[in-house]
């Protein structure tokens, strides 16, 4: 049975319209599981315990290998973390807030929590520890009680997949990570030559103008010096001549 192309398009649109809402509904129907500060996420085998200081929600949580993994974790007053892995050994953690900044020149992630018990706290924000070849000690900070920066290797370590292990910190702890934007070729590569190299061109132009002006001033100075020298010579000669004339007249 032959179907005209118009009919085929019509059927496709109807089928699409039927399927699309189903897709949307399934998206909207993503489960949101709320939690409260009283809810505990325990890690019994490693004597750890995690809870949040504020109300919040997540879409999915699993507990594997002594690590809690939260998807779309949202704390009230904070932004949503797409994937957040957290674990603790011999310590209890109370997470206060999560902040992410998207500045033009750098992005930052900041997690604030309180740790009780001198154990280990393990986090993974889903970002790689390495960027631009920078040493992670430059781009990751672990700060205790607001002003004591722990040294990498001493107070904390980080693996290449971005798993941060904080050792022995107690009290209020902040974990901060900065990611700097590359000043990449890609931003400028499609621009015309003069725009790609405008700073260099400006520098050359300013240098040329300054040198030109300086040379002109030098030439003017030299000329005026020559003129004044000539004038002085002329006056000296004239003075000598007049003296001679006077002497002659006196004789």
């Amino acid at each position: 049975m032959a179907i005209s192309s118009k009919s085929a398009v019509g059927v496709a649109i109807i089928v699409s319209l039927c399927i699309f809402p189903c897709l949307c509904v399934s998206t909207q129907a993503q489960t949101v599981i709320p939690f409260q500060p009283s809810d505990q996420f325990e890690i019994p085998s490693s004597n750890g315990d995690i809870n949040f200081a504020v109300n919040g929600s997540y879409s999915f949580a699993t507990f594997e290998n002594n690590t809690w993994t939260f998807l779309n974790l949202h704390l009230n007053g904070s932004q949503t973390i797409t994937k957040f892995m957290v674990s603790a050994q011999n310590s209890n953690i109370t997470i206060f807030s999560y902040r992410a900044n998207n500045n033009t020149s750098f992005q930052s992630i900041r997690l604030r929590y309180a740790a009780h018990g001198q154990g280990e706290q393990i986090f993974n924000f889903g970002v790689s520890s390495e960027q631009d070849g920078l040493d992670p000690s430059l781009t990751w900070n672990v700060v205790v009680n607001g002003n004591v920066f722990l040294a990498k290797g001493d107070g904390w370590t980080i693996s290449k997949d971005g798993t941060l292990v904080v050792n022995g910190a107690t009290g209020n702890v902040s974990v901060v990570h900065y990611r700097f934007n590359s000043f990449g070729n890609t931003q400028n590569s499609n621009l015309p030559f003069d725009q790609q190299h405008s700073i260099g061109i400006w520098t050359i132009a300013v240098l040329a103008i300054i040198v030109g002006a300086a040379v002109a001033i030098k030439v003017r100075e030299t000329n005026s010096l020559k003129k004044s020298d000539l004038l002085r010579d002329f006056r000296v000669k004239e003075l000598q001549a007049s003296t001679k004339r006077k002497e002659g007249m006196q004789k």
Partner: protein, 414 residues
């Protein structure tokens, strides 16, 4: 939540303070032999505020201390004006250290060393790729230094450099204690002056050697391969990107002051060190702390000791005191042979013990050691014997302050 002082308010207030301060000092300083020195001290202090204007402008209350501190890159004049072609800031020939918070301009020596690394990628080094090549950026830095030097020469050293202010403060402290300074022999002073060029050459060569893996793809000395995702273990030498900065006394001075002011945290600054004895560090090293102490002691004994060996001063001098730049330099110190009585006071008061102002018969007496501080012009007691000229016009000239003092005609209006 961060906040900042709007630049539209800070800048006019700053300019107003500078103008009013200059006028007040000019009008109120009665001692003719200290008027220029007072003006210079004021300009030096205001220059420090200009160099670290980011600390005044903000933004403040950043979550924590980023590697570049609470005034991030976007606060830099360079990042705002010059964009991604030249994001590290304008190059002005003063020791405006790259490492502290809030700086608005950048030391050209840091830039020259950093831009030696032309191909930043994971295989050869960092992946930070600027939109301009290393060579182009080095050309821009040298161009900016040349422009500055042709226009103002080593005026930058005498009037604007923050480390110069530090040394002058040490001199004032010594004077307050009534301790007399020592002088080098002329031979030693000349040798120190020449050592500047060796220092800058050695450190530029070291930069190339340390960057050899980034430049040539092969390491000239072991340990220069940077670490990367390939699993290459980084040697300690690979942490040395700017070798001169490891020995520069300005870096620890800035960091220590900012830590004292509370704008940086010592526990953060001191944690990023590599190797034993703090040999290499992102902010401070044991070497540059030791050099700062040594330079401080030497500057107490000899006036402006660092300026005699400063490689940045040497770079500025190259573009202002040597042919062909000397011929076209716009700021000059000139001497009138007929007025000079060879009393030698100019030679005695010169902080860097420059000799041409005394030895040369007349004409342009600017030399590579002269910082154009105008102390000699100020102290010379012979009318018009010494003049500081800009573009052929006299800006400052010596005055017969001895005679004026004798006859009592000297007043604040003079």
């Amino acid at each position: 939540m961060t906040w900042a002082n709007p630049i539209s308010i800070v800048l006019p207030v700053y300019v107003a303070i500078v103008v009013i301060g200059l006028l007040l000092i000019y009008k109120l300083t009665k001692d003719k032999t200290k008027k220029v020195s007072s003006l210079r001290l004021f300009v030096q202090i205001m220059a420090v505020f200009a160099v670290f204007m980011g600390l005044i402008i903000g933004p403040f209350d950043q979550p924590l201390f980023a590697p570049l501190g609470p005034s991030p890159r976007s606060a830099l004049v360079g990042a705002n004006l010059l964009g991604n072609q030249f994001p590290d800031g304008l190059s002005i020939p003063i020791l405006a250290c790259y490492y502290p918070n809030g700086r608005t301009i950048t030391c050209p020596l840091w830039q020259l060393q950093a831009y030696v690394f032309p191909f930043w990628n994971y295989q050869r080094g960092y992946e930070v790729v600027y939109s301009t090549s290393g060579l182009e950026k080095i050309g821009i830095v040298l161009g900016m230094v040349a422009v500055s030097a042709v226009v103002l020469g080593r005026f930058f050293c005498g009037w604007l450099c923050p480390f110069g202010l530090y040394q002058d403060a040490l001199t004032r402290a010594r004077k307050a204690l009534r301790i007399r300074h020592l002088r080098f022999s002329e031979k030693t002073n000349t040798a120190l002056g020449q050592s500047r060029y060796i220092i800058i050459a050695v450190f530029m060569l070291l930069s190339v050697i340390f960057a050899s893996y980034a430049i040539f793809g092969t390491q000239l000395i072991p340990g220069t391969i940077p670490g990367g995702p390939e699993g290459t273990e980084a040697g300690i030498v690979s942490k040395i990107n700017e070798p001169f900065c490891l020995v520069c006394p300005m870096r620890p001075l800035c960091i220590l002051i900012l830590c004292g002011l509370g704008s940086m945290k010592w526990s953060y600054v001191s944690q990023i060190v590599y190797g034993p004895y703090w040999m290499v560090g992102f902010y401070v090293t044991s070497i540059n702390l030791a050099i700062l102490i040594a330079i401080t002691i030497l500057s107490l004994i000899y006036r402006r000791f660092w300026c005699r060996i400063c490689p940045l001063g040497a770079l500025t001098a190259v573009f202002s005191s040597f042919t062909p730049f000397k011929q076209i330099a716009l700021t000059k110190l000139t001497k009138n042979e007929e007025k000079c009585t060879k009393c030698g006071v100019c030679k005695r008061v010169c902080p860097t013990e420059a000799t041409q102002v005394f030895d040369k018969k007349g004409g342009d007496v600017t030399e590579s050691r002269c910082m154009l501080c105008a102390r000699c012009v100020e102290i010379c007691p012979y009318e018009n014997a010494l003049e500081l000229k800009f573009a052929g016009k006299t800006v400052m000239r010596s005055r017969n302050w001895l005679e004026q003092q004798k006859t009592g005609t000297l007043s604040s209006e003079d």
